[in-house]
């Protein structure tokens, strides 16, 4: 690998997002191993003051232009392409987040660089970068080789440690000015999270329900357990999408990030988009009929079994224990 590595710094509402530090840490390792510089790109007029937080980068390219604030994926790709042309970049790291979705595809179309999605590990191998991607909801891994280390990699949030991307150092800053056409997509306003009846981020016990609960009526069983444990019910996306519980109860990539003392994952497969939102729970207990469900790889305790059979028994036993 003979060219630089560029991290697209992601920010939301004036804060650098954790994914940025994850990518900087991962990028720094690859850059050091191959002796190339690590750059970051910071886009938007509100973002410029955040450059100082990206000390792990050798240089931060700042495009301090209001048209880049909450700009559509296509416009961000135009800006990145301008930086790539100027700075001899071969490898680009972009967050695999909702906010960044599509940027890599547009950049790939503009540059011809191949794009690898769902990246969760990367290593150097004889000049090539080998990226490990996680597919099929975490059930399959796939190694992809980027010859000469050239390509675009979308990084899964939670794949790399955040702390490794932080540094006290002060990066050098280079201002760039990008020619931007009037975009056909414009940001209007934020829609704040619905305030639910309960705030699941503040619960010490959460009973998480997934598609394995099978019907809306069965969710009542989980409600019963949550009540006697003094917690609340939350859910994976399919449960919310079916309208079984309100949006305020969704945990995961688009939903809430929760860190309860105990998280029960009932009939939840453990797809990365769900895992992202509850991985830092102190104790994770998973119940699933599928012994190969990915949730068992991260949970502390696992039960292979039918949650609908187990729940009534568990509720009775908890009641008995509490007296």
């Amino acid at each position: 690998m003979a060219t630089a590595i560029l991290v697209l710094a992601e920010q939301l509402r004036g804060e650098i997002a954790d994914i940025t530090f994850e990518m900087l840490g991962a990028g720094r390792k690859l850059a050091s191993a191959s002796g190339v510089p690590l750059y970051a790109a910071l886009l938007g007029s509100e973002a410029a003051p955040l450059a100082a937080r990206l000390g792990l980068a050798d240089k931060v390219f700042v495009a301090d232009q209001p048209q880049l604030n909450l700009a559509p994926a296509h416009t961000i790709a135009v800006a990145l392409k301008a930086i790539l042309d100027q700075a001899q970049v071969g490898l680009v790291l972009i967050g695999g987040t909702n906010g960044s979705i599509g940027i890599g595809s547009f950049l790939s179309a503009k540059t011809g660089l191949p794009l690898v999605n769902f990246g969760r590990a990367a290593k150097l191998e004889a000049g090539a970068v080998v990226v490990t991607s996680q597919l099929f909801g975490g059930k399959i891994l796939s190694d992809v080789k980027l010859a000469d280390g050239r390509g675009i990699v979308s990084i899964y949030p939670g794949a790399f440690p955040v702390e490794a991307g932080k540094s006290e150092g002060t990066p050098s800053v280079e201002k760039v000015d990008v020619a931007i056409e009037a975009p056909k997509v414009s940001f209007k306003q934020y829609l704040e999270p619905e305030k639910g009846d309960v705030d699941i981020t503040k619960q010490s016990v959460l009973v998480g329900v997934g598609r394995g609960m099978q019907t809306q009526d069965n969710v009542q069983l989980a409600e019963d357990l949550a009540r006697i444990l003094g917690g609340a019910v939350c859910a994976s996306r399919p449960v919310i999408d079916q309208g079984w519980l309100p949006l305020s109860r969704q945990v995961g990539k688009s939903g809430m990030t929760v860190k309860p003392r105990v998280y029960l994952a009932l009939g939840i497969s453990g797809a990365p988009e769900h895992w992202e939102g509850m991985q830092n729970s102190q104790c994770i207990i998973a119940v699933n009929t599928d012994p190969k469900a990915p949730i068992f790889d991260g949970a502390h305790y696992g039960v292979v079994g039918d949650v609908l059979e187990l729940l009534p028994i568990l509720i009775d036993k908890v009641k008995a224990r509490k007296g």
């Binding site: 979705i101 790939s108 794009l115 399959i140 940001f187 790889d297 305790y301």
Partner: protein
């Protein structure tokens, strides 16, 4: 409105997935296919828009196992046309699939008009080479928004809700025509009785379009595919349900929740 929904068949992950002997693809022997989740929502969103604003819903799929049933189901739910593009999908990456669909939208009968909305699902579980929606938007030179969970139409534009994180969403205005990657519809996808699907199978037709596969199927060099090692595996609680429940009560007590 001229509404197009793109339907992709993906392996059902409820079944066990195995890697084929070539070490680079899934073993097809026991694979069962189903419609990708977000596509169910894209179809629902299109049907809701048609009910409100009128127009036509066309569902488009590349040939795949079990796809006919999915196309007939879409017709039974209210889609007006179903189109199957006859192209071999094995080894076809996202960029090449976008190329095939872009060619389809260049054909005389299905040209993009000023009131066209193309609605792919936001992201499939196997999109190693990026998402199709932005690749297609790039190929057609149309605006794109992804992770969309709500669409309303006003004059010459769509107002869409995009999900960020932590329940935060944003509202965007998008000039038409456009490509929107749908994550969820405003309402749960409707149900259609099997009897109705059967009736549609007898009365309706799936249109077919021929297509030669693109020269280059995928831009990535796939080294190998494999199952993750069970790292840091959970401590499994075994026994009959009664015994398991007793152990769970202990775990809950040890974590001071009871």
């Amino acid at each position: 409105m001229n509404l197009y929904v793109l339907l992709k068949m993906v392996p059902d992950t409820v079944e066990e997935l195995n890697v084929a002997t070539d070490g680079k693809s899934l073993d097809s022997e026991f694979l069962r296919f189903k419609l990708d989740d977000p596509d169910e929502h894209a179809l629902e969103q299109a049907l809701l828009l048609k009910e409100k604003h009128g127009g036509k819903v066309t569902v488009v799929a590349l040939d795949a196992p079990e796809v006919d049933e999915v196309l007939f189901t879409a017709l039974a739910k209210g889609a007006d046309r179903a189109v199957k593009i006859l192209v071999n999908q094995s080894g076809l990456g996202t960029v090449a699939a976008a190329r095939v669909l872009a060619d389809y939208f260049a054909s005389a009968s299905d040209k993009i008009t000023s009131d066209t909305l193309v609605l792919p699902g936001s992201q499939a579980i196997d999109d190693l080479e990026g998402e199709l929606a932005p690749s297609l938007a790039a190929a057609l030179n149309l605006p794109f928004v992804g992770v969309v969970s709500g669409v309303t139409l006003a004059k010459e534009q769509a107002v869409v809700t995009k999900e960020f994180a932590g329940g935060l969403r944003g509202e965007f205005e998008v000039a038409l025509p456009a490509v929107l990657g749908i994550q969820s519809a405003e309402k749960p996808p409707r149900y259609v009785p099997v009897a109705k699907v059967r009736a549609v199978m007898k009365s309706a037709k799936i249109e077919t379009v021929d297509h030669t596969p693109p020269d280059r199927l995928i831009r990535l060099e796939l080294d190998r595919m494999y199952k993750p090692e069970a790292a840091g595996r959970a401590q499994m609680l075994e026994g009959a349900p009664e015994g398991i429940a007793d152990k769970l009560v202990e775990v809950l007590a040890n974590n001071s929740v009871i």
